[in-house]
């Protein structure tokens, strides 16, 4: 049925990382967009958590079956936003079987340890202090690029199994069961640096 799902789409080797940036500040959106473009990324910027979920198709509006998920390699979100915080957005992304493997980086102007801890514990890749520097963005995107390079071979395998995957909405029930889509997931956490040691404080 889903012909698109079976076609091997060239991953990072051919193209750029696609980053979704979320921030309620117009100034910060402009800055992060520029930082990401300089770091050779394709960028989509949205102003809120709910917009981000909408973009990802996680807002419950679209049926998950047959919906060709937008392809995002990294999500960078501000922490303090009206409505949905970056932390809440992070949780929603990690709850989704479609997007839970997408690295999420949280940004905040406030250096609050409990905040940093809860984000990392919830699965954030990194926590960046604002104002975010080009070196921070380059480091993160470089790291993701390397990870994606390893994943791309496995991804084509995963894609061919996509028809067998159960819809994301009941993914949590399957978290403990060996899942067809899980077979081709990237290596264990040892592939990544210990998240806590990569804080940029």
């Amino acid at each position: 049925m889903s012909a698109v799902g079976d076609v091997f789409m060239p991953e990072v080797g051919a193209g750029k990382l696609h980053v979704l940036a979320v921030d309620d500040s117009h100034v910060d959106r402009k800055v992060i967009e520029r930082l990401l473009k300089i770091s050779s990324c394709k960028v989509t910027v949205v102003e809120s958590g709910s917009r981000a979920l909408q973009y990802l198709g996680l807002d419950g509006e679209k049926s998950s079956i047959g919906f060709d998920s937008v392809k995002v390699n990294l999500i960078m979100t501000d922490y303090s936003m009206p409505g949905m915080t970056g932390y809440e957005l992070l949780k929603k992304i990690k709850e989704s079987s479609v997007f839970r493997e997408v690295p999420v980086v949280v940004m905040s102007s406030e250096n609050i340890l409990t905040r940093i801890d809860s984000c990392l514990e919830e699965g954030a890749e990194e926590f960046l202090l604002k104002p975010v520097k080009l070196s921070d963005v380059k480091r993160v995107t470089d790291f993701i690029m390397k990870g994606e390079g390893k994943k791309s071979v496995k991804k084509s395998h995963k894609r061919s199994r996509s028809d067998d995957c159960t819809p994301p909405s009941i993914s949590t029930a399957f978290s403990s069961v060996s899942h067809p889509c899980d077979v081709s997931l990237p290596a264990s956490p040892s592939t990544f640096h210990s998240k806590k040691s990569r804080l940029s404080i």
């Binding site: 910060d28 402009k30 604002k130 104002p131 520097k133």
Partner: protein
């Protein structure tokens, strides 16, 4: 000859903005994001900042007129304003924002009002100085960051 003089002027203004504490490292970070394709990026960001933050300042003005003061709300608005100020490297403005938030924390209404007035002064002063700086920078043409042109 003219251009060299203009460039020196621009460099001097920039130098004094840093010396006098109006700007911090973040401003330099932004300048490093400029290139031939985006030569006015910093000016665009600063323009956006002043446009966007005027709304926040007006919200703060209104919130400070209420009785009793809603310190949580004041703090929330100021947090946003401080964030943007920090993003453009507005050092003195940011310092007043921090002070303001401290007064919110200690529920000191008078302190809030005082630091808000001071913040607005810094905000206006910086705006004028940056307008001059950008105008001269545009006239002087693309700058070399290190040594003056031969």
């Amino acid at each position: 000859m003219d251009k060299t003089h203009s460039r020196r002027q621009v460099a001097a203004i920039k130098h004094s903005l840093f010396d006098q504490g109006y700007l911090d490292e973040q401003f330099i970070q932004l300048e490093e994001l400029q290139d031939d394709a985006n030569p006015n990026f910093v000016e665009e960001i600063v323009t956006l900042y002043y446009r966007d933050s005027s709304r926040l300042i007006s919200n703060l003005d209104h919130a400070l007129e209420r009785n009793p003061l809603d310190f949580n709300k004041l703090d929330t608005i100021m947090h946003q304003f401080k964030g943007s100020s920090s993003s453009i490297g507005a050092k003195k403005v940011k310092a007043e924002c921090t002070l303001f938030r401290e007064y919110c924390r200690t529920r000191n209404g008078e302190g809030c009002r005082r630091s808000f007035q001071q913040m607005k002064k810094e905000y206006a002063t910086l705006r004028k100085k940056l307008e001059t700086y950008f105008q001269l920078a545009r006239q002087a043409g693309p700058q070399e960051t290190a040594f003056p042109p031969k």
